[in-house]
Amino acid sequence: MNEQPTSIRREDPAKRIELGLHEKLHLDCGVELGPFTTAYQTYGALNADKSNAVLICHALTGDHYVAGDVHPMTGKGGWWTLMVGPGKPIDTDRYFVICANVLGGCHGTTGPKDINPETGDPYGLSFPGITIGDMVRAQKQLIDHMGIEQLFLVIGGSMGAMQVLEWAARYPEQVFAACPIAGAARHSAQNIAFHEVGRQAIMADPDWHGGDYHRHDAAPRRGLSVARMAAHITYMSEAALHRKFGRRLQNRDGLTYGFDADFQVESYLRHQGSTFVDRFDANAYLYITRAMDYFDLAAEHGDNLSAAFDGSATRFCIVSFSSDWLFPTSESRAVVHALNAVAANVSFVEVESDKGHDAFLLDEPELFGVLSGFINGSAAIRGLR
């Protein structure tokens, strides 16, 4: 494995590693998975005592191209260049940043579009059901392989925040600081409902072929596109949609009395849907949304969320956004209350923003200021330069 500090500008920045060779991954569904591939990316250099590692956990449709890379599929930069890079809140001049594509994903880590070694065909729906816990256990094998005993920081937004909480609950001694952003300790009924709409859209597309579309040389593009369109609405706030589009018409002077995209917001959603299908696998979307739906950290600890963090010495910084109705502040506050009940070290900030759930990916100076303060303060206590 290559642990050299990597330059941020490389043509093919991703690394791949075979894990689960000696010890298979025990999935929550009961299946033993291994060996499996993890695709990941690193930025910055690991210090001599391996104490400056930061693990970034990506969201549902994210990937491991976090910082200044050119994404091999989109040609754009990484998804969190505002947060990660030299001189940024997660400063790659100071920290060794790791991000791995999640288990069940479609950007290099083993998932349903990969070949099942036992059959020689793509897994499709024969891929085992996965959970947030499985994703974290897969990441743990990568971190162990790197010889990192304790991560300085585990951070992520949305589904990434779920992984952060899972990391902190499952491996408290390996997490010095944890920062779940716009997250929750469980997926709400409303969120499961939205995911179900997306899954039904995919499965209703005849090109889905019962999940076997790879063998039919097809892809459920329309279904996946609709799933993305519906989901995208939940990532924004009403105010942000109105500011961005209002009722403005798309390249026309009046209504057409038809079903073309008369409104800019329709055109925008259609664009979001159609570009998404170029970079995402429909079955992976089914599997990962399911993993989020299954997440309920309290249920794993006798319906007592506090018990998940009992005795934890991890420093927590929890951030929510005032206009996020997908992962509302009340969900973050429930985590804060659970942490208070075990007198854990916790900071909690609700950032005032009208940008909805997606605010964690956007230019929010308040978020950057808070995270810089938390990370710098934690680094001082950890004794990092």
Binding site: V336, A341, A343, S347, F348, V349, E366, G373, S378
Partner: protein, 214 residues
């Protein structure tokens, strides 16, 4: 915070006199919770001078943000509702500075303070201060003083009490008063018994150190 006075920012050396008094009472390395911590001035001062393991609760998002930006562990929260979450004996000191009178249920808050901490340090403006009495008696108006700065219609202070009231409430709640210090408006200690009638007349504010019975 929502108290009558603001925790001023600035260098630790310029810390408010009553906050320094709190710091002087705090043992090095102890676990401290500052309820209504404002910008985190006291927490920063304690971390610097006493190497405390400090936490804060603050209602205003601006205060929370400034605290966390400076590396302090502070949550956005409400003392009226959030103190019940903490386990018994979680802290060595819990501080409630100039905030008690803004609580919706101040007695519950004080009872929670002594539950979650070995010592509770509570300070509040004394409504029996002679200028307050004069304002009512001779002007017939709600008092506006250096510690009670708001007009009646926009004050966050909804539960005023006097030193004597507070002493009686502690007794009723079976809370032990370790110390009672009458203070001037600047936070300087007055050499009077806080619990005597002279203390209740001349203390513009008072600071109490409380604990639950052994």
């Amino acid at each position: 915070m929502n108290g009558a006075t603001e925790n001023g920012g600035g260098a630790a050396s310029a810390i408010r006199v009553d906050l320094r008094l709190i710091a002087d009472m705090t043992e090095p390395g102890s676990r401290v919770l500052d309820v209504g911590c404002g910008d985190g001035v006291l927490l920063a001062y304690l971390a610097q001078t006493k190497q405390t393991d400090g936490r804060g609760v603050e209602l205003s998002m601006a205060g929370v943000s400034r605290s966390v930006r400076s590396g302090l562990s502070v949550i956005q929260g409400d003392a009226d509702t959030d103190l019940k979450d903490y386990p018994t004996g979680a802290f060595d000191y819990v501080v409630l500075s100039q905030t008690l009178q803004a609580m919706r249920r101040p007695r519950d808050v004080v009872e929670n303070l002594v539950r979650i901490s070995r010592y509770a340090i509570v300070s509040f403006p004394n409504f029996a201060y002679w200028r307050v009495r004069m304002a009512l008696m001779f002007c017939g108006k709600m008092p506006v003083t250096d510690t009670l700065t708001h007009a009646w219609y926009d004050t966050p202070n909804i539960h005023h009490c006097t030193v004597k009231d507070f002493v009686e409430t502690c007794r009723d709640s079976n809370i032990i008063i370790e110390k009672a210090i009458p203070l001037t408006r600047n936070g300087d200690a007055i050499h009077l018994s806080a619990t005597g009638w002279l203390g209740n007349l001349f203390a513009e504010q008072a600071m109490f150190v409380l604990r639950r019975p052994d």
